[in-house]
């Protein structure tokens, strides 16, 4: 298969000590901390109370309406608290479970994936709380809603040091391929491609063997060169199909869907074994870890405990990162739980971290644009952000930046470029939200003013109608007095009033206003 290339990128040393060792399970920690928001979108809503006994796989928080995902107990035990705990992005509400040590499962009934309706399979993926396990943690069912021609299952790791997908493919190739076939069935994809890195020879062999033995329809296993950020969705699609996802669009716009191998695996476990997403493989690695390895970890396991499962910290441990060295977030301490999107815990040694260097002025060397996979001009973008020139920032396509950090990595002046973009993006998002709020408030104000005016007008009309009715009543009374055979005046008067009200209503209806003020 002919591969394309994407612009820029970096050939970084892969640094995969974790890949060599077998995947080991992490022991049960003394407590499991399950954040309600461990996926893109809205936080889940707790549906348990402290003191409640739960089994592994029980839903402890339901998906909110809209883009969201449920959260499941990752071991059996007792709910101890629902409280705010430190997380990677600041404090957030969590469900704290004290495991009972038995790890008893409550599984859903398995589905026969070849016979079940795609909608039923998709519902199972939703129920099982599956989100993109490559790191973005985007709820998977939302991506499975549209039908596409090509399914790409992404086994190219995001960053150096991260080796969880490699371990998964090597040891559980059959399940990964079944997961790929399953996802392909849900979206009706005729072509399935599993992309792996060229250097993953064992994983490739394992996949090929598993494919032969599985009896599945053909799945292409395509090795791609290891160029950061090859694992990025848009870059991988470019490499495999030669096409670019349009700016501001989604892969489905060009008939492609991209899912991480771990997501495919989790979907397969949910469908064939009825297992909700309660654990994932995490690479625990770096010079700051004694025995780097891939660890099958229950969600909610505190990072400090997990590092213990990989032999603990070395004396050299200098920085704790969730994710890889290019995009990962540094944590101030290790009392933070593993969440669905956490693909690696990287403990960097003192020699592996960037020295605090003063930021020098941009020398316009162009290295940043040479490596930018989004083909931006990071130096100009940075200047525009510093100048506060929003129009120019938009013209330079800030929104196309994938925050890969290539530019900041190579910049000889040590300018924190990607940081500036992230902040600018957040500022823009806030601006948009503010504007939406303001628009909303303005609409409500206009609606209120209009209602008040309408009500005032109706009041005036009602008074006029009553007056008219009164005048007619008096005229009728006068006529009746004059007439030789007077009818009962009261009845007559009443029907006249009704007629007047009907007239008024008709008039209002003619003016296009609902006759709602009448009951006042």
């Amino acid at each position: 298969m002919a591969l394309s290339r994407f612009h820029g990128g970096l050939r970084l040393p892969p640094q995969k000590p974790a890949a060599a060792a077998a995947v080991v399970p992490c022991p049960l920690p003394p407590e499991l901390v399950l954040p309600l928001a461990q996926h893109a979108g809205l936080a889940a809503e707790p549906c348990v109370v402290p003191g409640q006994v739960v089994l592994r796989g029980d839903t402890v928080a339901r998906a909110a309406a809209g883009l969201s995902a449920p959260v499941h107990a990752s071991s059996s035990g007792v709910v101890r608290a629902i409280e705010s705990r430190p997380l990677a992005g600041g404090d957030g509400p969590c469900i704290v479970i004290e495991p009972d040590g038995r790890d008893t499962w409550n599984r859903l009934p398995p589905l026969a994936w070849r016979d079940a309706e795609p909608a039923a399979l998709r519902e199972r993926v939703r129920e099982a709380g599956i989100v993109g396990l490559g790191g973005a943690a985007f709820p998977s069912p939302a991506k499975l809603a549209a039908s596409v021609a090509t399914l790409i299952v992404n086994g190219a790791e995001c960053e150096p040091h991260i080796a969880c997908d490699e371990g998964l493919m090597r040891e559980r190739a059959g399940d990964v391929l079944h997961g790929a076939a399953l996802l392909a069935r849900i979206v009706g994809a005729g072509r399935v491609v599993v992309a792996i890195e060229e250097r993953m020879l064992e994983a490739r062999a394992a996949l090929a063997t598993a494919l032969r033995e599985s009896g599945l329809e053909p799945i292409e296993i395509v090795p791609v060169p290891t160029i950061y950020p090859e694992g990025g969705e848009r870059q991988l699609i470019r490499v495999l199909t030669g096409r670019e996802v349009p700016a501001g669009g989604l892969p489905r716009d060009i008939g492609v869907l991209c899912h991480n191998v771990a997501t495919a695996y989790a979907a397969w476990r949910a469908v064939a074994h009825g297992e909700a997403l309660t654990s994932r493989i995490v690479s625990v690695t770096g010079a700051g870890v004694r025995a780097p390895r891939n660890v099958e970890t229950r969600l909610g396991t505190p990072i400090g405990f997990l590092v213990g499962a990989a032999g603990g910290y070395t004396g050299d441990a200098a920085r704790l990162v969730v994710g890889g060295p290019m995009m990962g977030a540094a944590l101030p301490h290790d009392a933070v739980p593993i969440v669905k999107g956490a693909n690696a815990v990287l403990v960097l040694g003192a020699d592996d971290i960037r020295a605090q260097a003063p930021e020098l002025p941009c020398i316009r060397c162009g290295e940043c644009s040479r490596v930018c996979p989004a083909q931006l001009m990071p130096q100009e973008l940075y200047a525009a952000i510093r100048a506060g020139d929003d129009t120019e920032v938009r013209a330079l396509s800030l929104d196309a930046c994938i925050e890969c950090g290539c530019c900041a990595y190579v910049c000889p002046s040590q300018i924190p470029l990607v940081d500036a973009y992230r902040q600018a993006k957040r500022a823009f998002a806030e601006q948009r939200a503010d504007r939406a709020r303001a628009d909303h408030a303005r609409e409500r104000f206009h609606a209120r003013t209009a209602r008040l005016e309408r009500e005032a007008a109706e009041r005036v009309e009602r008074v006029a109608a009553r007056r008219e009715a009164l005048a007619q009543e008096q005229a009728a009374k006068a006529a009746a007095e004059a007439a030789p055979e007077p009818e009962p005046p009261k009845t007559m008067g009443k029907s006249d009033v009704l007629a007047a009200i009907a007239r008024a209503k008709a008039k209002k209806a003619a003016q296009g206003k609902p006759p709602e003020g009448d009951t006042e």
Binding site: G231, V245, A318
Partner: protein, 371 residues
Amino acid sequence: MPRAQDAHERPALSPKQAWGRGIPIVKTFATAPAPHWPAPTSVRRVMLDVLIALVPGVALHVFFFGPAILVQIALATGFAVALEAAMLRARGAPLRPFLGDLSAPVTAVLFALCIPPLSPWWIALAGMTVAIALAKHAYGGLGRNLFNPAMAGYAIVLVAFPLDMTRWLAPAPLDVAPVAFLDALHAIFTGALPAPLAWDTVASATPLDIVRTLASKDLMIGEIRANPAFGDFGGKGWEWIANAYALGGFYLLWRRVIHWQVPVAVIGSVVALSVPFWLADADRHPFPLQHVFSGGLVLAAFFIATDPVTGCATPRGRLAFGAGVGVLTLVIRRWGAYPDGVAFAVLIMNCAAPLIDRYTRPRVFGHGRHA
């Protein structure tokens, strides 16, 4: 891909708070924004690479013209660093990171390579004052200057002291012994040659000057090239120094300090423009490679037009910038008042660079073609 949640901006619970609430922390860490790996390069490293790349050219310069150039380099560097420090102090900028970035020595060495080796000491002072104080710091210092400082300094001394700028030495292959170190020192600091030497014996017009003067006497190129100052392509000695500059240029390309577009465009445009003239009338127009190997063209192609700060930042922009330098150099050589127009060509293109950049922005991923 994982989005780095900006943990360093919105700090998670501090260790103290966490302990206070009984949350078990095994270890605490200092945080910083991603990317976390050490920087692969620095401004200092980039400038150091430029200086390393200039070593072969300087070495051949010494071989052909004697050690005088080393005195000029030392002088210019001393002035440049002193002026840099003074200007940083005047602007209230910190000395440490900026003095260490080696950008002033690069400017100084490039300037020294452009002037005649026996120029009096105050030429270096005047040139560096213009380069560092005016062209660089008056515009805001490193990264903000519009004009290439070395070329600005050189152009000013060329215009202000034209006579001193023509006193080039004869290269060693012309059977003139190179001026010795002490004699060179004497000449540079007193402005006069020590006793037995005389300008008439040590000096020689550059090949470009010769072409110019002789062509104005209506001599054919063939006759001009019979002059002993000429080698295979350019001037004797000069062409070898140009080769050494090119060697340094390849080192810079390999180190990814410069981009291929500029040298290719400079040299390509000179060749492309001179070939038709030469084909039409080989008697009146020099062989294209003679243009390339004469004067400062190779030095400019690899070291001066490639200056990122004052050049273009986009790939297509760099091609346009380089072509502009090449074409303007030829135009000035042919019709201008100076034998070599490289410095002026570079300065003119410096003015155009921001505009070129604006109109040559690359296509953003997901826009147009492949989408």
